[in-house]
Subunit: 402 residues, 2 copies
DNA sequence: CTGAAAGCGCTTACAG
DNA sequence: CTGAAAGCGCTTACAG
């Protein structure tokens, strides 16, 4: 019996396209039906220019008919790359079953999309700091590189980053860009954002501005926001007294507690700059529970512009971190690293988003009117809708005396 | 020169543990150093009981020293499974760069954790309905099974599910459990949740209850909520008039628009049951813009209990879908499918979460008092905090006349 | 308990 | 433009 012509044995491949096919089709099945070698099938399907156009079409048609998909495990093994990026979340403050920080969730969305655009898959994993995460993904060839996301204690984190660098792992990290940072980071210009917010509150006539958020070196992002803020105050001849700063991690609970602590200190204040929106939401809750009005009694602002910031009552003035852009940049940078192209750390601009919680936008009297009107008229509708306060309305500083 | 003893050539492996190692270590490297065969290394590291305890320890130590990790591509290729699940999101209504529904984000969190608990990786992908998603992941052996998540037009979706079933793909889907559903679904008991909410609003004394949310068969989940609601009304001798129902997909924008449409119809109503929290948040915004108070003029309730529901002003009464449990069940069920164990569709109980937006909890007079007090006293703190309204306080029905 | 060997399904020099 | 061959790094019968 003569040896088969093209390196495969006919086996049970005769007959109609799918009859007799056990399990998934392989490139040999396609080759047999197309009357070419398996190499040619591989080339045709991977878009190699070395294939005759007609042959390619025939192969593609057959592949479609057989519902053939290249086996990623085999192709990855052979080509020594995975076509996959791994996203590692760190949730140090909330290792329990609680909800994930919505800001990171937004990042997740944009990273996922960016990966898809670049033809990469995304492996997602939630990590504890104790985990031996630094090695797993790239070493086991599940991913070509890592994206690191999450607040967290800075020092232990840093030493893990060094290990990653030493191992030659490809990674980018979302976080503050610091001088002696191991590896590459993409972050938001926290200092600038904090400064803009401080200046804005001052322009609104606020004079005694509290800051809620941990400002130890463990929390370099909050620290940078605080420093920018303090700089803006100083520029206006104001100070950021220690009595008006309370530590808080980025949760509503911490924000609530921090605001209560602040209130218990009995120091007058007319504004709260919270280091994150979550903290701000908790603080607003606490203020409401103490019978204080936002922004009439206390202006409250946050940082991040998470989706629910718009839906706070009143809508929360905050600093937008452009997660869309961040996700794209993170993925792009990581891909450059993987391809051994030059790549560098980057700071994304922070943008002030002015809503009503800072006292800008809809004036108090308009609010007052609305309230009075609504008291008169229970739910029968048809009134002309009040214009929604535009997100970025210019706002005259309201002078305040304490 | 004698042939090497154990099937590998010494190569550049002499010297200290890592010197001379090009790239990652392989099981052959470990075998060489441990003085055993590569097979034994593989067995030891995969936890086979067929390995001498001492040998195993030696191998494990060396593997640690060399920072060795099993190559997933190779092991997956060989064992024909990936140890990975794929999570496919469908975002039909919002194909743009906008934010993802926070409810699904919560699910993502719980699914990720459930996967980790079971030792699986999670591949995440956002899909358009047009995509040929039904085949890709499992066929290319990137995942052992799929988790399908997302609202969406029901009919086209359904035919894709049939295709998946025909192909023998392992998948579970989050969504309504319907009689002639292809494949396995895990969902929330939307009917029951809607009924509970309807009954609750009636018990609060509300009589003309609007429903915001699309109730065509395209949206079987909203439809089920609506039907449960209507059933509760009927049980109380009330009706759910068509004039008080407005279609809306699950976004704040749609909720805002739907509430405006409702108001423009000039039909009296004293409550809005929104088919989702996002719709409810938008509706509350619209009501506020029309000078209507929640809950004094209109009670508003939602569905999902997304994180920001607690932070609405007033906090939103809603129906909790237990995403923690759902994620776990989704993963567990899929794993059973993959292992060819019996598995079945399941309905998770819905739980009413009572906050202030429905008129229960903190009484109007208390609110009034708080407001008056706050008007008197600008931000100097130290007052006794008002008790936060307990999440599930028993509430006497407040009679209402229109 | 251990080793020698086959083979998972590809990609990619190498040779024409 | 195409084919024959090697080999990616494992797992797993098979034989002792």
């Amino acid at each position: 019996m003569p040896a088969p012509a093209l390196g495969y044995t006919a086996g049970d491949l005769q007959g109609n396209p799918t009859a007799g096919m056990k399990g998934k089709a392989t490139s040999f099945d396609i080759a047999y039906r197309a009357g070419v070698s398996q190499s040619t099938v591989s080339r045709a399907l991977s878009g190699s220019p070395l294939v005759n156009a007609q042959t390619r079409q025939r192969i593609e048609r057959i592949a479609r008919e057989l519902n053939y998909k290249v086996d990623k495990n085999a192709s990855n093994l052979r080509s020594q790359q995975s076509g996959t990026l791994a996203l590692l979340f760190f949730e140090d403050p909330t290792p329990d079953e609680s909800h994930i920080n919505p800001f990171f969730l937004s990042m997740l969305g944009s990273i996922t999309r960016a990966c898809a655009r670049h033809g990469y898959d995304l492996l997602v994993s939630f990590q504890q700091f104790s985990d031996d995460w630094h090695a797993d993904y790239e070493d086991s060839r599940k991913a070509d590189g890592l994206i690191l996301l999450g607040y967290g204690d800075y020092m232990p984190y840093c030493s893990k980053l060094e290990k990653l660098v030493a191992q030659g792992t490809h990674f980018v990290r979302w976080g503050p860009v610091l001088p002696d940072q191991p590896g590459i980071s993409i972050g938001c210009d926290n200092h600038d954002g904090g400064k803009a917010m401080g200046a804005h509150l001052v322009a609104q006539g606020r004079r005694r501005i509290a800051f809620l958020g941990t400002i130890t070196p463990d929390c370099p992002e909050f620290l940078a926001r605080y420093r920018g803020h303090a700089e803006a105050l100083a520029a206006a001849g104001l100070s950021a007294p220690a009595a008006l700063q309370v530590d808080a991690i980025s949760t509503e609970e911490a924000g609530y507690a921090a605001a209560c602590t602040l209130l218990a200190r009995r120091q007058p204040f007319d504004a709260i700059f919270a280091a994150s929106d979550l903290i701000a939401m908790g603080a607003m809750q606490a203020l409401a529970d103490h019978g204080l009005r936002v922004p009439e009694d206390v202006a409250v602002t946050g940082f991040d512009d998470i989706p629910m910031a718009r839906f706070a009552q009143p809508p929360l003035t905050t600093v937008l971190q452009d997660t869309q852009r961040a996700g794209e940049l993170l993925v792009e940078t990581l891909l450059r690293l993987i391809r051994n192209e030059p790549a560098e750390s980057r700071l994304l601009p922070a943008r002030l988003v002015i809503r009503r919680s800072c006292g800008a936008g809809g004036s108090p009297s308009a609010r007052q009117g609305a309230r009075a009107a609504s008291a008169r008229s229970p739910a029968h509708p048809g009134k002309t809708p009040r214009r929604r306060a535009p997100a970025r309305s210019p706002s005259a500083p309201r002078p305040r005396t304490r």
